[in-house]
């Protein structure tokens, strides 16, 4: 099992008899355990701002960006200007710029489905989708759609529940958000198994060592940019040498 030169090797399943939806459901189940507690945590925090609970639902449904939503709670509490909220969200989510590279070929469905897929491209959805691809293109498109939609639903549910019960009950959610860390750890291991190379991880640590020196809102985007540069430069150089 190895990558064909110049062709991305995304592992395809051999004989899957279960439907695209069933597989999507199975793949998104870990996300369920991350998104619902995290969404509830967000809902609880949001509810403390004093806005009607339905706005937590709307934010979860329309923005659908966990880290940005958490940051926004602090900004809204401080009555930050809309420009500042826009820029902060932009910088925090700049890492999504790179996700399209890996999913570009697979997101070729009808225009409205493609639009939704792009809209719903979160870290977790990206992680799940890049670790598995179905054999037939049409099945894979359904798979991508269902994974995205299910994750979206879990997140909306979490945000709503959190905001609704936040005022009623005093739930101690301390530590629940570790589910997200655990999820990323699991996905890192899955990626390591597929790629079987050390260098992407070395690059990640090098990138982080550099990016860590910068202010918090810059860290992630910088680290990702450095990763992107370090990974794509050898590819470009190799292409140039072969011309």
């Amino acid at each position: 099992m190895g990558a064909k030169p110049g062709k991305a090797y995304i592992p395809t399943t051999k004989t899957e008899t279960s439907s695209a939806f069933a597989q999507a459901f199975a793949s998104s189940l870990p996300i369920f355990f991350g998104y619902v507690p995290l969404g509830i945590a967000y809902g609880l925090l949001f509810q403390e701002l004093g806005y009607p609970w339905v706005f937590a639902t709307l934010t979860g449904a329309i923005v659908f960006a966990g880290s940005a939503q958490f940051m926004s709670v602090g900004l809204l509490a401080a009555k930050a200007g809309l420009t500042e909220i826009f820029l902060t969200t932009l910088f925090l989510n700049l890492r999504h710029l790179f996700y399209g590279f890996s999913l570009f070929k697979r997101y070729q469905a009808s225009w409205w489905k493609k639009l939704y897929l792009i809209f719903a491209l979160t870290d977790e959805t990206y992680s799940v989708l890049t670790s598995k691809q179905l054999n037939s293109a049409s099945e894979d498109q359904q798979y991508c759609f269902f994974v995205s939609a299910l994750n979206h639903f879990y997140w909306i549910a979490g945000c709503t529940i959190g905001a609704l019960i936040g005022s009623q009950l005093n739930i101690n959610t301390a530590g629940f958000d570790f589910a997200l860390v655990a999820l990323f750890v699991v996905l890192t291991i899955e990626q390591a198994k597929k790629v079987k190379r050390l260098f992407p991880f070395v690059i990640a640590l090098v990138a982080w060592t550099v990016a860590f020196q910068f202010p918090d809102s810059w860290k992630l985007f910088l680290a990702l940019s450095i990763c992107f540069l370090l990974i794509s430069t050898p590819v470009i150089l190799r292409g140039v040498r072969n011309d």
């Binding site: 934010t59 699991v186 291991i189």
Partner: protein, 112 residues
């Protein structure tokens, strides 16, 4: 600006910023340079995943008690569990449960 207008406005600008970042790659890649996109698409995800792990733990203070042991131990448990059973739900569930227990109780200082 009323409160409702303000929070609605915040949703609008956040959605705009988010969708801008998510759709950017799809606009740049109209004419796809096949090999480049594929290779980057193959090796970028693993780097990104590790990055996200580190990013989530960036605020952990390793210089003061408990010296990040709570997080590190929980991560190690997740890693070992997943290498052993390859069951995502198990790894995440147990790892998180352990973290919550460590976080809320005094077990760790008593062991070390």
């Amino acid at each position: 600006m009323t409160e409702i207008m303000y929070v609605t406005g915040s949703i609008v600008v956040m959605t705009l910023a988010t969708f801008l970042t998510r759709s950017a790659a799809f606009f740049f890649l109209r004419k796809s340079k096949s090999g480049f996109v594929h290779e980057v698409g193959l090796y970028l995800p693993p780097a990104v995943m590790l990055l996200l792990v580190v990013y989530c733990l960036r605020n952990v203070d390793f210089s003061k008690a408990p010296f990040g042991l709570v997080e590190m131990l929980s991560v190690v448990v997740v890693v070992l569990l997943h290498l052993w059973k390859s069951h995502a739900l198990l790894s995440i569930g147990l790892g998180t449960a352990l973290y919550v227990v460590f976080l809320r109780t005094d077990i760790l200082p008593q062991i070390f």
